[in-house]
Amino acid sequence: MKISAAALNRLQKTVGKQNVLTDEVSLSLYAYDCSLSRTRPDAVIQLLRTEWIAPVLHILYQCNIPFVARASATNHAGSCAALNGGVILNMAPLNRLLQINTQEGFALAEPGVITGDLQQQLTPLGFFYAPDPASERVCTLGGNLAQNASGARCMKYGGTIDHVLEAEVVLPNGTPISFSRAKGGPDWIGLLAGSEGTLGIITRLKVKILPAAKHIKTFLVTFPSLEDSVQTVSDLAARGIIPRCVEAMDQITTRAVEEFSHAGYPLDAQSLLILELDGKPKQIEQDALQLETICRQNNAQKFIPAKTEAERQKLWFGRRAAYAAMARLAPNVMVADGTVPRSELPRALKKVRAILDENHIFASLLFHAGDGNFHPQIVFDERHKLDALRVTRTVKEILQACVDCGGTISGEHGVGVEKRAVMAYQYDKPTLDLFARIKRAADPKNLANPLKLIPLKYAEKARAPQPLLENIKPLAQQILTHWETHIPCVPVGANTRLRTTAHNTLSTRDLNQILEIDKTNYTATVQAGVTLDALAAALQAEQVFCVLPAGNGTLGGAFCSGCMPGFYPHVLGLEALLPNGSYVRYGGKLMKNAAGYHLSRLFAGSQGTLGIVTQLTFRIFAQSIPVAANYPFRSAPGNSFWQAIKTQLDPEDLFPAVQGVLDD
């Protein structure tokens, strides 16, 4: 599409003529990111001030011009390509670090601040920002949140989603809105994480900073098989040892990396782990002893601790050089990204190797073993169209294999346009419908980064829905009746928090099965009506722990009421009934999932306004951990975003209404 002269004129008046680029060269240079996608926009706007964003978006909304936010454009999924033309908003100039508050543990930054710059500023202060994407020297905080980026430290510290405290966002219609986790209600920041700029533009971020570990110990361990190395990671989790990083590579990768970096990696091992512990010296010492024992029990061939900082850096140099080692071999390196439950990692990796061999493709295979997240790095030359097609097809096959192993098509790189089609392989139609509705709620004109994330014409291609469990069917039928008869209802669990006296309640008490306690992946899958007392007893019987305290209330209530926000980061998967009776499934035993909107964060604290959560999958631990704080129930203040989603899902307010929607 072309931008009208009038619209261009208005934009130029708002940001200055010199900040609206329409020349052929600039448009060509804002057409790409690190993926294979390339589409020229119609204009590029240099955003020098955050205050410009709202008026610019307002003009774009009025003139129906699509827009895409772009900062460093380092993503691998084509999230920054302006597929519908329109405007690229260059966020890179918004790179001011506004405040570092070590007393309260936060940093306030504009979205274009480089993640590595923040780390550099924090280091002399004895603090650090936990998410560490491999591209941290060039990627931005805003981009990290939009893609929900994470890195090697994710197993212990989590991804970007868990480290943003507040975010200021401008919605696609130009309305500024401020999200804070302290306000209650759904975890909007969680929903924003991984939304790839399809819901709005992030204008300011308040991120959590943590005191830096003073003592770190790094180990290199080799194994005769992939299974042994993965089993080692599971055993570590079982003993309650959560390493700061667990990085791994297979033999082919080790050889390629060693040839380039000379980091001293043994070449005879099938699998290699780099493990890093941090904490107090005594604790590290104890953990290191246990670590060695566990590694030896799992047939470790070599156990090499880094004795000096130089040795430690050398070990990491090899791992960091993995990309460079491949980048020298051919013009293009496609870094694919998939995540499977940790226990499935050996099977998934074998499948991936087989797919690569079948397609005659040379690739290295790196993986964050702690998270089940792996990255095949495929080298090719995009100038040879057939090669490029073969690689694209192979990546698709790999991602499908990943889904077949119970995994997701993206652990940390996002979906963008390159994995858009495979989303239909991972999710069923009701879940994709929900994604589409969330998008429509925030962006009714489909202007914010259009044609991303949600597959086109997915109705026929979507994964077939799995049958409902028997005890969910009556509840589903009841909801459908309410939807058809337009009679409002109030979802409740044990009614311990809401304490409603209404008669038209829909109770989840019948959803009382503990479906699985998985001691390999350390996850539990439990229905929402299970009481916290029953859950605690079941976990105790298995000698595992979770962050939920014992109590009379139900699991669903603890999650949806907003009383235990500390539980949200532990939830990995969710199933829910929507007001129209459709059943959505999201996540599972996955430590990471960057495919689609984070539905678990949307329903967290939603207080029954958006649907009924029927089942949750969450982390459990081998050793007791501090329980999440349990706050008294209070109605969360609404906002226009919540109201818009509510209108999409429940236009007739059959479920409880959103409170105080003007509190933006």
Partner: protein, 435 residues
């Protein structure tokens, strides 16, 4: 795709490099440009991107633009002004190559683009003056000496007062007057200027002084000579152009001719076995590229390869262990150079300084700006000023007392800014480490 230059110019085989010697082997310009995976690792080390935050002025953007030009997806004549701005704004510093996993030589791509655009980037008068160095070396030397004399007499100051140097065509005189040291009383008696040639009977070393060491900072030339003469019989090749100026700002054919003249002269002196020393990192790195200029002529290429083996930089003649204890504040190394900021000379320089100053040596961050090298400030005054100010800020932030550079020009530029904005620090060429 390889016909791109042919479409522009019938003499493309002469005016352009047929292939580039990259750290990962010989590649055509198109192949080399196509190695950019658009990962963006280079963005945050590029001084112009850090200033503008515009893709157009980033290494990735420049490489992609060249690729699109070659692929015919971007029109050259329609976009000439912006392409020229992209090409001229590049510092050719090679920081992007250092950050790049594929070691893409972006600076070389930019030079190819400049050759394609066929525009002169230096002010015409300055360009003319500098091109005399190879065509009429005696006249060039005379002009420089006259320039010094005129300056000593206060004529330049008068021109500045009258505002004549504010004129666009003469603004380079203003800048040159800014950065050059005050002409000392004994300038013309400097041993490096007064002696006709240093030509020992049996030389063991050849010294090829850079333009600045010979004409702008003769005491630098004298310092190198003094350092080298401690153990060697040094033959000095005065006022002899290496072809670097033509390589960067002029015609590649001329650069090739001058370089080959140098190679031949070296061959003819003691059988081409004498080490050839230079004091400028820019000249050293350019001479290292000699085989690349002759890739079409196998015999000449072979000669160039032999020539390169005999190249030496001042770090090779400096003592590796401290001669004496030097009392100093904090010091750092300014790695500004053309084409690259990694490799042996940089490592050796860093090692020497670390051994000498230990804890007082300030490690630089990968984002720290360096001094724009080899005449950049005469081409891009505003950008160069901003980059220099960032450099000074970094020096002030780390409370550095002395900054050692690897070329005289960088020391001159940096000293000017330090004197104005952070006078407690000073810059000097590394060769004067021991005074």
């Amino acid at each position: 795709m390889t016909d791109f230059f042919a479409q522009l110019d019938s003499q493309h085989t002469q005016k352009h490099l047929p292939s580039l010697q990259t750290p990962l082997g010989e590649r055509s310009v198109y192949d080399s440009v196509a190695f950019c995976n658009r990962c963006g690792s280079c963005q945050q080390v590029c001084p112009t991107y850090l200033l503008t935050a515009e893709e157009t002025f980033s290494p990735r953007g420049r490489n992609q633009a060249i690729r699109l030009l070659i692929e015919g997806k971007l029109n050259l004549s329609r976009n000439r002004p912006l392409l020229k701005a992209m090409a001229d704004s590049c510092l050719l510093c090679g920081r992007c190559t250092e950050a790049c996993a594929g070691k893409i030589p972006t600076a070389e791509h930019i030079l190819e683009l400049r050759r394609t655009l066929q525009t002169k980037t230096l002010p015409p008068l300055l360009h003319k003056l500098l091109s005399w160095r190879n065509r009429r070396p005696k006249r060039f030397a005379l002009c420089i000496r006259l320039g010094w004399m005129i300056r000593r007499l206060g004529v330049i100051r008068l021109l500045r007062t009258l505002g004549i140097t504010q004129l666009n065509a003469l603004s380079w005189i203003h800048h040159a007057d800014d950065i050059l040291p005050a002409p000392a009383a004994g300038l013309f008696k400097n041993p490096f200027w007064s002696t006709k040639t240093h030509a020992p009977e049996k030389p063991t070393f050849i010294y090829l002084p850079s333009l600045e060491a010979e004409f702008l900072m003769p005491d630098l030339g004298a310092a190198v000579l003094k350092q080298a003469a401690q153990k060697q019989h040094v033959l000095v090749w005065k006022n002899f152009s290496s072809g670097l100026f033509e390589y960067i700002y002029g015609d590649l054919r001329q650069s090739r001719r001058l370089l080959y003249r140098l190679i031949r002269r070296h061959q003819q002196t003691a059988g081409g076995k004498l080490p050839l020393l230079t004091d400028s990192i820019d000249v050293y790195l350019f001479l290292q590229k000699a085989p690349q200029l002759f890739s079409r002529w196998p015999k000449k290429k072979q000669q160039a390869q032999l020539f390169v083996q005999n190249l030496r930089f001042v770090t090779d003649i400096l003592p590796k262990t401290p001669l004496r204890r030097i009392q100093s504040g904090r010091i750092r190394l300014d790695k500004s150079a053309l084409f690259s900021c990694e490799g042996k000379p940089f490592e050796t320089a860093e090692k020497i300084l670390k051994t000498q100053f230990r804890k007082n040596f300030v490690e630089c961050s990968y984002k720290n700006a360096d001094t724009p090298a080899f005449g950049y400030s005469f081409v891009q005054r505003h950008l160069a000023h901003s980059i220099m100010m960032q450099n000074v800020q970094n020096i002030a932030r780390t409370q550095t007392g002395t900054v050692f550079t690897l070329s005289g020009l960088s020391a001159l530029e940096l000293n000017f800014y330090l004197k104005r904005f952070y006078p407690t620090a000073k810059a000097d060429h590394l060769v004067r480490l021991h005074g």
